[in-house]
């Protein structure tokens, strides 16, 4: 009875009409279409536009390229970057620096994070409840805040003033005050979180029966750890490694703050900082070309990771059944291990915040904490009564720039995270309902693209796309507008928002919707009566987490900033470059408090900082 493969029936007018009707009549199809169009416009076209810009003569290069007209095709930018006498200084040295930083950050932070994850998940380390509440806080403190804090301690006159140590008469060598070592340490205090979150997730998913079986077979604790536990979490550790490399290579804020100068007096560059200089100065085309290289580098590592892990990942989730897991007694190592974690928390959380707070009360930074050097000026002072002639700004709460930046930050975070979260839910809906279908896969892949790009490179794309009028003036130049910053914040957070959306939608079984549709509910009615009520909490936590992430963002918007659009992060970053770090510190503290409070609220709705990666 079996028939041969299905052959398409003839295309009759009636068939065509019915197909068209069901295509248009179903709002879901329309939404998928709009989504694809949107993603294409917001991600693919800007990327292509930037690629194009690296091959086209811009106005500023007219004098460099004899005989060329604006808009001519040229290889000049790429030659400048890859094959000119400058190549060594502008490309190879920053690239080397970035790779060295990436390598060291990874080598230190991955084992650190994995060790802490193992201690927290699988051992009987004391004070677990408190520790687990604290252990991700260092990650929530923006990395550039930690960089500022590093400066409060290790600044030396070469970095523009005294820090805590120099004020105590302890000379700080240049290598401790700026360059590789500080950048690596600060990034380690940030990116440990990747391996911590991934390894603890994997460890939690391992059924302790697997380890107990090893014990029954006569294996010792060390053998079990080595031959059962470690291999099982290896895929996630590998993932974390790649993520850490990719992220630390792409980080801008920390390197910009702590880069300082090389011993020969030239500025210390990594790829991200070098690229930003090109884009904000000239030649921009070279900056675009560099950002393409950064994207290739970051995307390359992540894609390698996906390919590498893809097939092996499967066993990382084995055995969800046994939530009961027997903890491994640490015995004598209990307190030494506790001390390790505590020291880490002190270095990565207590000290940065403490010294930021303390410096914000100082009249002259690095002049000690004597009563004659303390003031509330950075918080509430006014310029006419400034205790330090170097002050050129009012204190935080009297400062119109702060007020404006606060307003901008709230406006940006609120609008961007709201839009991102709403879109995220829709994307999640499309990818879960279209799983295995072409449009589901396509949306998923398109959304993944911004994730592959370091923030600073991503904003370079938008800069190149929108710093000139497009579509014959239909889209005006958006450079210097709030809209552009909003747009870039939204699109860069699509991957995260869509993941939170799809994990949310995954919990809403398709059958719940099918039941409604059989009862006569159309698409919008199903969304309104079934999906939204059930997706509410997930939506809220996704919204709050995007909110935090956007509020603290620096790398992503640094290139696009103009004074009237300054956000808190950028204002603090900007102030820290001047002789008034106290106000910058104060802003950092405001941001940190804000993040911790919002995170607490998100926690209540089942949100979790580990989901924001």
């Amino acid at each position: 009875m079996a028939k041969k493969g299905w052959s398409r029936p003839p295309m009759t007018k009636e068939r065509l009409r019915n197909q068209f009707r069901s295509l248009i009549g179903n709002p879901f199809n329309v939404i998928v279409f709009i989504t694809l169009l949107l993603l294409f416009t917001l991600i693919i076209i800007p990327l292509l536009a930037m690629v194009q810009n690296t091959f086209v003569v811009a106005k500023s290069e007219l004098r460099n390229i004899p005989g060329a007209k604006i808009g001519d095709y040229t290889l000049w930018y790429w030659k400048y970057l890859l094959a000119s006498p400058l190549t060594k200084t502008i490309l190879w040295v920053p690239l080397r620096n970035s790779l060295i930083i990436g390598a060291f950050v990874t080598v230190v932070s991955v084992p650190l994070g994995a060790l802490m994850a193992w201690l927290m998940v699988r051992t009987d380390i004391p004070g677990k409840k408190l520790l687990s509440a604290l252990i991700l806080i260092p990650y929530m403190i923006p990395s550039w805040c930690k960089a500022l804090s590093w400066m409060t301690i290790f600044r030396n006159p070469k970095m523009g003033g005294n820090g805590v140590l120099t004020s105590l008469g302890i000379p700080v060598p240049d290598w401790l005050s700026s360059g590789f070592i500080p950048i690596i340490i600060v990034m380690t205090m940030h990116y440990y979180a990747f391996s911590y979150i991934m390894a603890s997730g994997a460890l939690r998913s391992i059924n302790s029966e697997l380890e107990e079986m090893g014990e029954i077979q006569g294996a010792t604790k060390a053998q079990i750890l080595k031959s059962i536990t470690l291999p099982l979490i290896l895929p996630s550790i590998l993932s974390a490694t790649i993520m850490t490399i990719s992220k630390s290579i792409g980080t801008y804020g920390v390197a910009a703050r702590l880069g300082g100068n090389n011993p020969d007096g030239t500025p210390f560059y990594v790829l991200a900082t070098r690229m930003k200089d090109f884009i904000n100065n000239s030649p921009k085309g070279v900056g675009y070309a560099m950002s393409l290289l950064m994207i290739l580098l970051a995307a390359g590592t992540i894609i390698v990771n996906q390919k590498l892990i893809g097939t092996r990942k499967s066993y990382a989730t084995i055995g969800g059944k046994g939530t009961r897991s027997n903890l491994i007694p640490l015995r004598g190592a209990k307190y030494p291990m506790l001390i390790i974690i505590s020291v880490f928390l002190v270095i990565a959380m207590v000290m940065p915040v403490f010294f930021l707070v303390m410096e914000s009360f100082q009249i002259v930074p690095g002049a000690g904490y004597g009563p004659d050097n303390l003031t509330l000026y950075a918080w509430i002072g006014e310029l006419q009564s400034a205790p330090n002639p170097a002050f050129n700004q009012n204190g935080l709460f009297k400062n119109s720039e702060f007020a404006r930046a606060l307003g901008n930050t709230v406006k940006l975070s609120l609008i961007a995270s709201l839009i991102t979260a709403v879109f995220g839910q829709f994307f999640g809906y499309i990818t879960t309902r279209g799983r295995g279908k072409w449009y589901g896969n396509m949306v998923e892949q398109l959304i993944f693209i911004p994730y592959l790009m370091p923030g600073v490179a991503f904003s370079a794309i938008y800069f190149s796309m929108f710093s000139q009028p497009r579509l014959g003036g239909l889209i005006p130049s958006l450079y210097g507008t709030f809209t552009l910053i909003l747009l870039v914040s939204i699109v860069k957070h699509f991957p995260f928002a869509s993941r939170s959306g799809s994990s949310n939608m995954m919990q809403i079984s398709v059958e719940l919707e099918e039941a409604a549709s059989i009862n006569g509910a159309g698409f919008w009615r199903r969304i309104r009566s079934i999906v939204i009520p059930l997706a509410k909490n997930g939506f809220l936590s996704g919204f709050l987490l995007s909110f935090i992430s956007i509020a603290k963002e620096l790398d992503l918007i640094a290139i696009l900033m103009t004074p009237k659009n300054y956000t808190l992060s950028f204002l603090a970053f900007d102030y820290s470059k001047e002789a008034m770090p106290q106000v910058a510190d104060a802003i950092c503290i405001v941001i940190i408090v804000f993040i911790l409070v919002t995170n607490r609220i998100a926690d209540k709705f089942g949100g979790n900082v580990s989901k924001s990666m």
């Binding site: 009875m1 079996a2 028939k3 493969g5 299905w6 029936p9 003839p10 009759t12 009636e14 068939r15 065509l16 019915n18 197909q19 069901s22 079984s509 059958e511 719940l512 099918e514 039941a515 409604a516 549709s517 059989i518 009862n519 006569g520 509910a521 009615r525 009566s529 079934i530 009520p533 059930l534």
Partner: protein, 385 residues
């Protein structure tokens, strides 16, 4: 009135041909069960009927109204087919109370408030859950959730009720209760029901008709009795019946009038009128065949009953299970299972006399696996053979 006709339905998932030329007619008031092991296409068929899936080929009509015409890409919307569906997972909306769950479809139909109240309460009463109207699904037991799901489906008085393995998430005792409940529901409402299950007991006890699925095809459509007595092929015979049917290897010879079958039990002769002549039966030469013998059709005696179809057998094992006793027997190296009601004790290796009823046996052509000789559906022990 609703007569449903499916014709030449084909369904593909990519290159995977999951439904192969499904033809099925469901008469008004039928309790039609789609029966088969998992992955055989029965749920897909149900979803095609409901409109949740689209077939690539074929047509479906309800009372001569076209619901599906795949060649013209015409698919009536699920809500306009006058049917309702009970999901295996129940798919109750967790954020709505029992009342709201049942009322949802009626609200969409823009029914008046009092009317909704009345209709919902009627459905809840039918399912005997009116006292739970204010509860949320997660405050109900599995059985109660099941009743809510059915109440929600019948509230809109569908002409056709689709049930997808509704009992599979219930424990054994509740399952028997719900079987009775569903049978009663079918009688009371007279609604046409299509019921999907992999459980043959559910199929045999509740249906008026069963469509047996095998790898995306319907291998047999019959009444429960007919399906049980005369499964169309060896696989169907193997699937239906618990404990399983005994297959006895045999040699057949058909001379155009009678079929002679020789096995460990001796020779049986079947006349032409009991044969299925449209099947392949080699004429005039010996061929391999298989005897199908239901365990309950073997009578065991400790003394020779002097019946013409008596065979001497040896007890291999004995499994008394309260209401029935399973006895494994051997005759000349051929092992088979017999079932007797009540508790009976046999010793291991005890010699017994077994009376067989050839008229109630099935004969299959081993090569094609198809049924070639019918068993009688109506029988009185000791009278016919």
């Amino acid at each position: 009135m609703s007569k449903i006709v499916l014709e030449h339905i084909d369904k593909f998932y990519g290159d995977n041909h999951v439904l192969r030329d499904i033809n099925l007619t469901i008469e008004d008031g039928d309790f039609m069960t789609l029966l088969g092991p998992s992955g055989c296409g029965k749920t897909t068929t149900l979803r095609v009927i409901s409109g949740l899936e689209k077939a690539q080929h074929g047509t479906m009509t309800m009372d001569d109204r076209t619901i599906i015409d795949a060649d013209k890409a015409f698919f009536e919307a699920p809500s306009k087919r006058g049917l309702n569906l009970v999901f295996q997972s129940y798919a109750l909306w967790p954020h709505m109370t029992v009342f709201e769950n049942v009322a949802f479809g009626l609200k969409i139909k823009k029914m008046k408030k009092e009317e909704i109240e009345e209709t919902v309460m009627k459905a809840l009463k039918t399912m005997r859950i009116e006292e739970y109207r204010g509860r949320y699904p997660n405050e109900l037991s599995g059985g109660q959730q099941q009743r809510v799901a059915i109440a929600r489906a019948i509230a809109s008085s569908p002409r056709l009720l689709l049930l997808d393995e509704p009992l599979s998430n219930l424990d054994a005792r509740l399952r028997i209760d719900m079987r009775a409940e569903l049978k009663r529901l079918h009688r009371e409402t007279g609604t046409t029901i299509i019921y999907v299950t992999h459980d043959q007991v559910e199929a045999l006890t509740m249906s008026t008709k069963i469509a047996l699925f095998k790898e995306g095809e319907i291998s047999q459509i019959a009444t429960p009795l007919e399906l049980y007595t005369n499964p169309i092929d060896l696989q169907a015979a193997d699937f239906i019946g618990n404990p399983r049917i005994n297959f006895i290897e045999a040699k057949g010879r058909f001379d155009g009038e009678d079929l002679h079958v020789v096995s460990a039990f001796g020779e049986f002769v079947f006349t032409k009128d009991r044969l299925k002549l449209d099947e392949e039966i080699p004429q005039g030469k010996e061929f391999d065949c298989v005897l199908g013998l239901r365990p309950e059709m073997v009578d065991i005696y400790t003394e020779d009953p002097h019946h013409k179809n008596t065979v001497e057998a040896t007890v291999y094992a004995n499994q008394p299970a309260g209401s029935e006793t399973l006895v494994t027997l051997t005759v000349g190296g051929t092992e088979f299972l017999a079932i007797q009601t009540g508790l009976v004790e046999y010793d291991m290796n005890q010699k017994v006399f077994v009376v067989l009823h050839p008229g109630r046996m099935n004969v299959y052509n081993k090569k094609t696996g198809r049924l070639i000789k019918f068993a009688k559906t109506k029988h009185k022990a000791g009278v016919d053979d």
